[in-house]
Symmetry: D2
Subunit: 311 residues, 4 copies
């Protein structure tokens, strides 16, 4: 089976939303970019998604976004597909990022709704159509209502799916009924790719016909999520039970420390710094954990790593 | 395995949230209550839940609620467990309903958070504890944030689960991460029952360790949901695929007509009236569909019934 | 000018939402009811509103609600209008409370939207019309979206205002544009009464044409709010400045202690207990402050009382 | 009285959030920029705020934003203060816009919270502090929770107000209690400027101590809002009544056509095109009204213009 455009194979599997390694001064930490990408590829991931929410796209200047696009495409060098987040509030800036991504060799772009103006579904439809018309790469829709204030309703997805460059959707709503409605509508359209955001629901959506997950935790433990995805494909419930429990332990221990709205992002990137895969520097308005919190997180990470190596 | 209280077996399976059959003047339609209950039991359901949201509890006077409790317990006569919704904004009224339910012979009661005052989790915890202390029946928590404005957070559930009379939770949030977090925490506590509300996500939650579903559509097609539940238990994916598609067709065609906030309730009860199982009368503030809408719904119902009998 | 029904004069001024004095066992504290009512009347208030949100209506059993209605009407004995909250989720229960209030001698009833089911404006319109058709007392609409999840939109108010028994609206949304839109639409309809909930915006709305305020703080300091209302009517800006500053001090020091969602209610009733006007007992799900918080509140209250007596 | 920095006089009065005139191809319509600015200045406004929500900042590329900053500062040429919106999701991009504005000769910059990431108040505080530390112009905070999902809480404003470059706040929440709380806290701090967004509440806030309004309608009718502001300062209630009624008519007839979330923006800019002050072109995701809607709006505008010239 090939996609409606470009004869590319539709995406399946685990596509980590890569964190963006930064130096203390806010510049791109290129060494860590390289290390992290090799870590992901050697972990068996099926693609890499840069400049998503986990990639802190919104806090980065355009200059750094472009550097990351180029670097990632160069380092990956075609080994796996690279997806680039081009979400913005300005259509023109999104188009420029898409064009840049194309030249750099990206596989596809990903766009959430414009997230400042309050608009209706018809405007959202027009906007996405206009964006898809203005670029050459295939595009994924990105549903992220907790951050954009705006749900891409099922009918809007259906209407947009007839655009030849709109090839799928990543849903981070965590709303299982919404995702099942998508799966049901597109069940005979294997070319329209449905990926889920929250890793805690990756297995169940794959069991029910979803195509994979954009799992943040795969930055740290790519193999775990790849194995879990494959277990879901194989319907190996013994394996699922054991690996999914790990995923839930990561969720509980790494993503909720301190009870901040930004606990997930802080927890994930700080944990990666323990693994030597980046520094724990963030783009404002995200800021580092306190020393005490870092120590607590380190303890939790050691425990999880230990359990992981036993299993 | 027995429950921590009363030596009763923990609930598993399909427990329809029974609609409340009403006459045009708002009185209880007892004939339909009987017909409907027999329809459900002969469809193989594992329990009946009355006076939930689907049962329009909030619109009913206390007099009618009590009539329904007595009638249901009498008609069911111990064949399957009867769960009674006692959700209220007044602790005292909830307790009275619980006492009444106990005398009538109910299996357990079900309570969502008090839904007028804006409160914090600590107050919610204290409230549920006080309620459980004041009654003798086992009690399910009922998470329904779209209607109560208040999520029962995981930590609050965990704290409440140590109360001997709090034996489980029904989650209607549709939030898959929340439900997976519950399943993960309680994975070694088989006595703490986790049921899911939205029928569109029943299968996937049972596959992942959930204990069953409170499926509105089971009012019309009890056998479908029971078969689907059993397919999930058996991990019979061919069967799951075919039956789940039916559930999704019901969701799409019956629950969303007209795009009202009350489309689900109107659609479900009106469809039941086509099947001769009740009249399409509602408790205010829910009102009947227009004639045109009823005709459209009838067409959709015929189509679904036809497909159902083929399969 | 007389109202469209009953030849009664339309309400103007300060109508405190009376707290409900309770004994420790949850029964009505009748002594305090008497003391509090005399305190309010001697403070010059223009009416009393019982069983509102501040009156904790939702937490009270129907038995206690009726006791309070009778007691209040008896004690007030026609000296000022008594308004009774009949907000409920069941139309039938609301009607019964309205009938009871009429017999007890109330001036009018007050109803917020039914607050469990999610409904659209058309259903809300039908519901309020049906309620007004089923009772004999005049009725105020009560807009309280933070508690009911449902705004009574301007168009709905306009449509409902043609019902002869719907004589006004109390708005607790704190949304100034909404209130100004109401004032503008009804500026030539002096019989349609527009009262505002949050006392912090009472003056400005009276200056702009609003008819008064349902000020919680008037339970403690009725004269302050009455004087402020009269200053607004007189456009005495020196007086306004000084009295409004007091109201804001009360808001800051009494209503926000501890940062709970229920801080307003806890703070108000506890302060009234310092003044010997009730006990600090609440209806679940509201619970008392801790001892430390009570001490802190007492200090703040003393300071405010001292300032008050100086001015 | 002078401001804590730069010896500038604190802002007072009407500061229209200028719409951004665009050509059909999305480029800046410089002719209209000139016409519009002269229209505003000759209408007596006390300042101009560009690149706010009404200025569609979020939909514009950085290139166009910079062109507008330069053009506006050049055209205004010091006659009145120019405020520049630098709201962004990236601190670095905000800083660059601030630096650009300073060189262009702006009076101050205005920043709403970063609006993609979900953060807590402490992160918001740190972010704004960091921003103010990194620029040289004075800065206004901009509270716009309907668009940013994030309220700048009173305590956060208070903490930020001690930064020498943070000189005021524009509040577009429409929440009267919030605004009164600000006014009360800062009542002895005349250097900290409090402006209100929604023009429907401009008068009442000025009567209560607010310093002015950022009134969108002043793009069309600057004199009306300036006169209303002065009437409020003079406490001329006859004048207030008549002019405020006009403002409410504009709100009702111009800002709500079609019931879209974008009705305000579409209505305002299209009306300005009737007045020959710009073309009715928008930055995506805002799109033009249909021909029928434009005709209806034209009728309404004629009526309002006629009434205006009578008065």
């Amino acid at each position: 089976m090939t996609l409606k455009i470009n004869n590319i194979t539709p995406l399946r599997g685990i596509v980590p939303p890569m964190i963006t390694p930064l130096n203390l001064d806010g510049s791109l930490d290129l060494d860590s970019v390289k290390k992290l990408i090799e870590h992901l590829i050697s972990g068996g991931v099926h693609g890499i998604f840069i400049l998503g929410t986990t990639g802190e796209f919104s806090g980065l200047s355009y200059k750094i976004r472009k550097e990351l696009i180029s670097a990632t495409c160069d380092i990956v060098a075609g080994r796996i597909p690279v997806l680039v987040g081009i979400t913005d509030v300005s259509l023109e800036e999104s188009i420029q990022l898409a064009n840049y991504s194309e030249k750099a060799g990206a596989y596809a772009v990903v766009s959430a709704p414009p997230f400042y103006m309050n608009i209706d579904q018809q405007e959202l439809y027009t906007y996405f159509n206009q964006l898809a018309d203005s670029i050459s790469l295939p595009m994924f829709l990105y549903n992220m209502p907790s951050h954009t204030k705006l749900n891409i309703e099922l009918d809007t997805v259906i209407r947009l799916s007839s655009h030849e460059r709109i090839i799928g959707l990543k849903d981070s709503s965590a709303h299982a009924v919404y995702f099942q409605s998508l799966c049901h509508f597109f069940k005979d359209r294997e070319d329209f790719v449905l990926m889920v955001g929250p890793e805690e629901m990756m297995v169940e959506t794959v069991l029910m016909g979803g195509h994979g997950g954009v799992c943040g935790g795969a930055n740290v433990f790519p193999r775990l999520y790849v194995d879990l995805y494959e277990a879901a494909i194989e319907k190996d419930f013994e394996m699922i039970k054991s690996l999914h429990a790990m995923v839930m332990e990561i969720s509980k221990n790494i993503y909720q420390l301190g009870g901040y709205k930004s606990s997930y992002l802080r927890g994930l990137k700080t944990t990666l710094s323990f693994a030597g895969l980046c520094q724990a520097n963030f783009a404002p308005p995200i800021y580092p954990f306190s020393t005490v919190e870092v120590e607590e997180l380190k303890k939790r990470y050691s425990q999880i790593s230990a359990e992981m190596s036993i299993n």
